[in-house]
């Protein structure tokens, strides 16, 4: 049973169309992350699910009920905002209790529920504080508490971690993931950070220009990107893209060697070969390109090397202890199975 479904959802502002038919089924208890560059329509989609933005056409279905014309409060959702949106004039307890305003629980039950949520979020001691006396991470936890207390069918998170510093973000990421395992509600999480998407999601929805580019598990979108955009967006450092020609012999790199691949084409066809820095080797596999090491970035266990080739800059990962010297001429190898071939014009992956 699908807990949340989007059916051919579109959104226009006047004559400008910002969402072009979004369709997605989310299973009960699934953690789905919408990711994409700013302006891709991910937040708009979330706001349409929440009922804060009108749907131009298409349907939003929650628990098998079309909710297009329902008020946000009647949709059985809760939302956590980027700026927390916890009310500064109310104590933590009141803020959390605010989520229960429209519930029919008795006062005792409400109190018990607040205590339970505060316990889960480790905020029992902070209940009487005002938001101005809390740190950024604590404020975000209050915002999550206010959403949790209602036990909604769907949790909506709109870039909740982007106002936190790097360390806190990592910590909160883990906390939200644990929370999801603990409470088990469906979560829709919007972010522009692909690391957040990879680490938290059961499934990732990658969006660009108001269209879904690919939906899949983190492993799927990483190892089998549907197109060049997804390939480059997911993974850091991003995938190297090398221009090539696909013909009867295999792949002929414009600035490198020819690689024998199962993929052939009777007529020569312009393609882009994608290869992740992790998949490039300095010694084994088929020869790909060669060039001069321009910059090294030591990361500890490994060193990123930026290699200047005739086909542009290529990033590779080398050993952390004995990386090639800057200025050294090297050849990069790869296993043909690790190469991704995309149509040069449409960017779609070629199988």
């Amino acid at each position: 049973m699908a807990n949340l479904a989007l059916r051919n959802l579109t959104k226009s502002y006047g004559t400008t169309k910002v969402l072009h038919g979004i369709s997605l089924d989310v299973a009960d208890g699934e953690f789905v992350v919408f990711v994409g560059p700013s302006g891709c329509g991910k937040s708009t989609t979330l706001r349409m699910i929440a009922g804060l933005e009108e749907v131009t056409s298409g349907e939003v279905v929650i628990d098998e009920k079309v909710v297009n014309n329902l008020e946000p409060k009647d949709r059985d959702i809760a939302m956590v905002f980027q700026n927390y949106a916890i009310y500064p004039h109310m104590s933590v307890k009141k803020n959390i209790a605010f989520g229960l305003r429209s519930s029919k629980l008795s006062r005792l039950e409400k109190d018990a529920r607040i205590q339970e949520v505060a316990g889960i979020l480790d905020m029992t001691k902070l209940l009487n504080r005002k938001p101005s006396q809390l740190s950024g991470g604590q404020r975000q936890r209050v915002a999550i508490g206010r959403a949790m207390v209602r036990d909604p069918a769907v949790f909506l998170f709109d870039e909740p971690l982007s106002n936190l510093d790097a360390q806190l973000r990592t910590q909160m990421r883990l906390e939200i993931k644990k929370l999801h395992q603990h409470v088990g509600n469906t979560i829709i999480f919007v972010t522009h950070d692909q690391v957040e998407a990879m680490t938290m999601a059961d499934r990732i929805v990658i969006m660009k220009d108001g269209r879904i580019q690919q939906v899949g598990t983190p492993a799927e979108v990483y190892h089998q990107p549907a197109n060049a955009f997804v390939a480059q967006f997911i993974g850091a450092p991003s995938m190297n893209m090398l221009p090539a020609t696909l013909n009867g012999a295999g792949l002929e790199l414009v600035a490198g060697w020819t690689i024998e691949t199962p993929l052939r084409s009777d007529t020569a066809r312009a393609v882009t070969v994608g290869v992740r820095p992790d998949d490039l080797r300095l010694d084994t596999g088929q020869r790909l390109v060669s060039g001069k090491v321009a910059v090294r970035e030591p990361l500890g266990p490994e060193t990123l090397i930026y290699v200047e080739t005739d086909g542009g800059e290529v990033i590779a990962k080398a050993d952390g202890r004995t990386p090639p010297e800057v200025g050294q001429e090297i050849t990069l190898f790869a296993d043909p199975a690790d190469l991704h071939v995309f149509d040069a014009e449409t960017g779609a992956v070629l199988q």
């Binding site: 929440a50 009922g51 804060l52 008020e71 946000p72 409060k73 959702i77 809760a78 939302m79 905002f81 980027q82 700026n83 927390y84 949106a85 009310y87 500064p88 004039h89 605010f98 989520g99 305003r101 429209s102 101005s132 950024g136 404020r139 206010r146």
Partner: protein
């Protein structure tokens, strides 16, 4: 290890003296200007109190200290039943007008700020443009209107032009701009209707603005003279400023009585200010603490 003496020597003190003196001079001028400003502010109040303690024959004597101080004027004014009536009139009018402004100005300001509807901008400009029409031009239409509705010489007649102000609407709209939309949307998801959102979420966040508006409106109505003078006929309906202006007779103005009334009438304005200024200061402090 050689020890360096870092204590100031006579020579070093002399060297640093010139800039210090210039700084002191600047400080002195600032204090002087503030002092003069302070005197200018306090003098009228001092003269008001001084005059209220003088006998009639001494009123035109500019000495600040009365030769024979007396509380006779206070006894006269407070025992005169009319002053009590005017005081009550003024309190009723200023209080109702203030509450009405707080309510309606913030409702309209909130609507204009947080809702998107066709004609929003035009309505806002129309409201703002009324600020450009001077009161003197409006009193005749107001009077004719009061007359046709039978509001002359009544509380309603005195109050109606000021129950809502363009200035207040503008002020509140600008302050509501500082309330993030996220708060409002969060409240919408939490199940509040639009009126509840305005009251429980938006209004508490603009308390400093409400306090400022309350002070403005209360003082404005407490000291209003022209319109209450025009719209009232009977002595019982006068407000304090109108009533006080009538002290004395055709031959002479009883300044000592006017000043006594004025001195008494500043008390409520002081109270209002003292109550609401705390909110203003607290508001500023709160804004500073927000992360």
């Amino acid at each position: 290890m050689a020890v360096t003496d870092i204590r100031p020597t006579a020579a070093s003190v002399l060297e640093t003296k010139a800039p210090a003196r210039a700084r002191n001079m600047g400080q002195f001028i600032r204090w002087l200007l503030l002092f003069i400003g302070g005197i200018l502010m306090v003098m009228p109040i001092a003269y008001m109190i001084s005059t209220s303690l003088k006998w009639p024959h001494e009123v035109y004597n500019v000495n600040l200290i009365p030769e024979e101080p007396t509380l006779e004027n206070y006894t006269y004014v407070l025992e005169d039943g009319r002053f009590y009536l005017w005081f009550v009139n003024s309190i009723i009018i200023a209080t109702i007008t203030t509450l009405s402004n707080l309510l309606f100005d913030s409702l309209v300001g909130y609507t204009l700020c947080k809702f998107r509807f066709p004609g929003r901008q035009i309505i806002f400009i129309a409201i703002l443009s009324t600020l450009m029409i001077p009161t003197e031009m409006l009193v005749i239409p107001w009077y004719l209107m009061s007359q046709s509705f039978g509001w002359l010489d009544s509380y309603w007649g005195i109050m109606f032009p000021g129950l809502m102000t363009a200035f207040g609407t503008f002020l509140m709209k600008q302050f509501f701009e500082s309330v993030p939309d996220d708060f409002i949307e969060a409240a919408r998801i939490d199940g509040l209707n639009e009126l509840q959102i305005w009251w429980t979420v938006a209004m508490p966040l603009v308390k400093p603005a409400l306090a400022a508006l309350a002070i403005f409106v209360f003082l404005g109505n407490w000291t209003a003279f022209l319109w209450p003078l025009i719209v009232t006929n009977s002595v019982e309906m006068y407000t304090i400023p109108v009533g006080l202006s009538g002290f004395g007779d055709e031959a002479d103005v009883a300044w000592e009585l006017i000043m006594t009334g004025a001195a008494i009438s500043t008390i409520p304005t002081l109270v209002v200010f003292l109550i609401f200024q705390r909110f203003i200061i607290r508001g500023v402090v709160m804004a500073g603490l927000k992360g």
